[in-house]
């Protein structure tokens, strides 16, 4: 890296630039509103991200957005763009420097010249500023978990993260019932809590969450937090005021006030913890606070909020009111269940009569400690731990026993992953017979990793279950799906020791593909992107099938539409034709 070339390249921008400290630092200076702005840059050994510049304090422009200052440093870190999303031309570092400095000049000039923009940008990065206020000694940040959506004024139960023995910082153990936010509310008759909740370190006194309609940029220092709090408190309206009033009259040592507020492009959530040695009501003013020796400590809030965590994980909130029945909790079904709730499906009923056995381990999503347990029940348990807002119920029923219209009508979608063609056929006939209006997805995979399939039947639309069962040669109803990749009439099952021990050879990867594909079809349907009967397949390699001397179908040889949703309707189907 030729530092002189960098320097001269920056001077081309109209700034002054010089190297100091034996050319280990770069100092850039430019003028805004007649005053000088000074940026420092310590050269790194290697340029792996956009060069980082620091703004010298005491520039007299007040607090600026995108400049993160800590109380003990004389420099503020300037952030111009997310370093992850910037690609640096390391081959021509002088260009990277020139462009970076140009962005700094542009950004800082605008922030200084346009106070409204500066304020909006400060709000936008409220959380970053607040986080600095919350830093305690060392790397510890004052943080707390709140299960609150941030909409209504609510009395809350606050759970502090616990320190672990390993000293890595935080040990978060949300109870399995965290989805039920009511366990966090301080209600006189609180719902029964399970052990996990009881074990958690609760602060079940005097915590209130309230919503602000208007927010000021975060205070620059911890000292300013008290005054800043009362500024905000003055603007709280009726419901919040009533709760605040209650705290003022309280008889405690700790008070937690948790705020949510709109910021440009999002929501901010933060908390202030009031405490002192002796009991008494929350102070009403800066003076009272000082007189009462109250300590106001800013806290970062990590919200266990459905509305923010589901989208953050790529799930969709639209799906939270959808109810899905999944029959079959094997290697495909288990994975599928997890993916459905991960996508945001709010209510899932899983049904299977099977118990997890050691044979399942390597391709099943459930872990060893569930062996011997009902698969459905174990799955419901695990999903609850992973996706806390999903309401998962488990049934111990087989597909053949589920042929009851009354039991099925409540669902928006039925997904069948039982891998048993005869029962699936009987179920499909039952659906026709009863004119069941619930859409059904059947999914299954073929052996030796050659592929997997899913069909979606939406009653009343073109295409029915039987469309997947038209023999391509005779164009008559067939017992085997025409989606198949392995030619009919071959032995695919593998035998391990006689009757009843046959199994279909496929890998956990193949099961995973099938599950992911079927979940995608289910989610697209539930979101309204797919409205008619459809089919989807993934095509794997025929290497293993060839080795087993199995022949493949026309469809396999010519299939190029893996993972594409295709219409299910077959014009030669006798059921929906005519």
């Amino acid at each position: 890296m030729n530092r002189n070339r960098i320097r001269s390249c920056i001077e081309d921008l109209g700034c002054t630039a010089r190297l100091t400290d034996g050319a280990s630092k770069l100092v850039v200076e430019f003028i805004v509103q007649g005053r000088s702005v000074v940026l420092y840059h310590p050269f790194p050994d290697e340029l792996l991200r956009a060069p980082q510049f620091y703004l010298q304090k005491g520039h007299g422009f007040g607090k600026l957005a995108h400049v993160l200052t800590t109380e003990d440093s004389e420099f503020g870190e300037v952030c111009i763009a997310d370093s992850l999303s910037t690609v640096v031309n390391t081959g021509r570092p002088e260009l990277a420097y020139r462009d970076t400095v140009a962005k700094h000049v542009e950004l800082l000039t605008r922030l200084i010249e346009d106070p409204a923009y500066n304020r909006e940008e400060q709000l936008r990065e409220f959380d970053a500023h607040w986080k600095i206020l919350c830093s305690g000694s060392g790397s510890i940040t004052n943080e707390l978990f709140v299960a609150w959506e941030g909409n209504e004024v609510e009395r809350l139960q606050v759970r502090l993260p616990r320190k672990t023995k390993s000293g890595s910082g935080l040990d978060i153990r949300p109870p399995s019932a965290v989805a039920d936010t009511s366990v966090f509310h301080l209600r006189p008759k609180s719902p029964k809590r399970n052990k996990a909740v009881r074990r958690a370190r609760r602060i079940d006194h005097n915590a209130v969450g309230m919503r602000l309609t208007h927010l000021d940029p975060a205070p620059a220092t911890k000292r300013e937090v008290v005054a800043w709090f009362f500024d905000i408190a003055d603007r709280i309206d009726c419901d919040g005021r009533r709760e605040l009033e209650r705290l003022h009259r309280g008889k405690g040592r700790d008070y937690w006030v948790i705020f949510s507020a709109p910021i440009p492009d999002g929501e901010a959530m933060f908390a202030i913890h009031w405490r002192r040695r002796s009991k008494g009501g929350l102070p009403r003013s800066v003076d009272e606070a000082e007189a009462g020796q109250w300590d106001a400590r800013p806290y970062r809030v990590r919200a266990l909020s459905r509305a923010s965590l589901i989208p953050r994980g790529g799930g969709s909130l639209d799906l939270s009111n959808k109810s899905v029945l999944l029959v079959g909790c094997g290697s495909v079904g288990g994975d599928l269940a997890m993916r459905l709730t991960s996508a945001g499906v709010g209510r899932l009923t899983v049904s299977d009569t099977d118990k997890l056995s050691e044979e399942n381990l390597y391709r099943h999503i459930l872990s060893m400690n569930h062996i011997g347990r009902q698969k459905a029940e174990a799955l419901a348990h695990d999903i609850g731990r992973k996706h806390p807002w999903a309401k998962v119920e488990s049934w111990n029923r087989s597909l053949e026993c589920l042929r009851e219209p009354a039991a099925l009508k409540q669902f928006d979608l039925i997904v069948i992953a039982v891998g048993s063609p005869n029962v699936e056929r009987a179920f499909a006939e039952f659906c026709l017979e009863e004119s069941l209006s619930v859409p059904v997805i059947n999914c299954w995979l073929e052996g030796y990793g050659i592929g997997g399939h899913a069909i979606l039947v939406v009653p009343g639309t073109k295409g029915c279950w039987h469309c997947a069962y038209v023999d391509p040669e005779t164009l008559t109803p067939s017992l085997l799906p025409n989606l198949h990749f392995l030619a009919p009439g071959q032995t695919v099952m593998r035998d391990q020791g006689g009757c009843g021990t046959q199994f279909l050879p496929y890998s956990g990867i193949a099961a995973g593909y099938t599950a992911a594909m079927s979940a995608d079809l289910a989610v697209r349907f539930l979101q309204g992107h797919v409205t008619t009967s459809s089919k989807i397949s993934w095509k794997g390699s025929d290497m293993e099938a060839n080795r087993q001397r199995l022949s493949v179908t026309w469809r396999f040889r010519h299939f190029t539409e893996s993972l594409q949703i295709l219409p299910l309707h077959d014009e030669n189907c006798d059921f929906c034709g005519a």
């Binding site: 164009l475 179908t553 014009e571």
Partner: protein, 346 residues
């Protein structure tokens, strides 16, 4: 049901196989007369060393004739060492036998001796070859009074032609059977279309072998993703190729066309050699009309409408389904018959 089901039914009706009873009767006639001709050849000093049926049975492209007349192309092979120098000699001998056995309209044509069997609808062409020691066949060419310049033992390769038609090495191995089957169906459709759409005299000059070679060379097969044949589309695409890219039709003056389809095997001559501009023009225009109508049918969603168009092209054997009866509904189809339990009652 889709349109392919109707094509399948049509194909079942028009296809003719060796074992079909109507054809067997023709074969019986052929067998007896073949014996008589063979004896006559033997007596004349050139015994028959081999015989075979030439034509569309070995290529599975034979169709049931709408006229009811069954054609048999009977090939007789004599040894070249014993064969007379004049190729017309054995043809005259054949004619004598036929006439003595009560055949009507027996006459010597350039490549064969042709006759209708008096009582049945059987039409037999006798084709005479001589075989060289190297197994090369020579066709006896010439009419009864042809002079030396118009008669010859002309090199020919009838087996090579059959092999060429049956060759599927150009298709992906796993799909070859399905594609060849589709090819055979397309040829049968076109032959039936020819029989329906041309007057007998012109139709007789639209040689089956010409149609077969064109389809074979320009075949565009079509199957659904699941591998179900789509004959309508395949036929239309193949015709597009024949007309647009085949190079078989050369425009002449006044919107007329000459058709040329070279034999793909020895002697490589033009199958339509000597055919008139009328034949070429009619064939071109009718093929073009056919492909346009097929394209129109492809675009329709109503099966009965499609069938009506196809029946106009292919004749009555292409069935137009009855309209759904008013008030009645279609029947459901089931995968199994259902189980009769050993019911008891009182």
């Amino acid at each position: 049901m889709g349109i392919q089901t109707h094509f399948n039914k049509f194909h079942d009706r028009i296809k003719l196989g060796r074992q079909d009873s109507a054809y067997k009767k023709a074969r019986d006639r052929d067998d007896s007369i073949k014996g008589a001709v063979s004896s006559a050849f033997a007596a004349a000093g050139y015994p028959v060393v081999n015989d075979f049926i030439q034509g569309s049975f070995d290529t599975h492209t034979a169709i049931v004739p709408i006229s009811g007349d069954y054609d048999i192309d009977r090939a007789l092979v004599i040894d070249s060492a014993q064969a007379p120098a004049n190729p017309v000699t054995p043809k005259k001998k054949t004619l004598e036998v036929l006439e003595s056995r009560g055949f009507r309209n027996a006459k010597i044509k350039k490549p064969c001796v042709t006759a209708d069997y008096a009582s049945d609808n059987v039409h037999i062409d006798f084709i005479i070859y001589k075989r060289s020691p190297l197994n090369q066949l020579y066709l006896a060419v010439g009419k009864e009074h042809s002079d030396e310049n118009n008669r010859e033992w002309s090199p020919a390769d009838p087996h090579g032609l059959t092999d060429w038609i049956n060759d599927r090495s150009g298709y992906p191995t796993a799909d070859a059977q399905a594609i060849q089957d589709q090819f055979r169906r397309l040829v049968r459709y076109l032959k039936r279309w020819r029989d329906e759409q041309f007057s007998p005299t012109v139709g007789a000059r639209v040689y089956s072998i010409g149609l077969t070679v064109m389809v074979k060379q320009q075949l565009r097969h079509s199957f659904s993703m699941e591998g179900a044949p789509q004959d309508l589309q395949a036929l239309r695409m193949t015709l597009d190729a024949i007309i647009l890219f085949g190079g078989y039709f050369t425009p002449e003056l006044a919107g007329r066309y000459r058709v040329r389809v070279p034999l793909p095997v020895l002697p490589w001559r033009d199958i339509f050699d000597g055919s008139s501009l009328d034949t070429g023009t009619q064939l071109y225009n009718k093929l073009d009309y056919l492909r346009r109508k097929l394209a129109e049918a492809e675009g329709l969603s109503d099966e009965r409408e499609q069938c009506r168009i196809l029946a106009d092209l292919f004749g009555r054997d292409f069935e137009v389904p009855d309209p759904p009866k008013a008030g009645s509904k279609g029947r459901a189809v089931y995968p199994t018959a259902g189980i009769v339990s050993s019911s008891t009652g009182a």
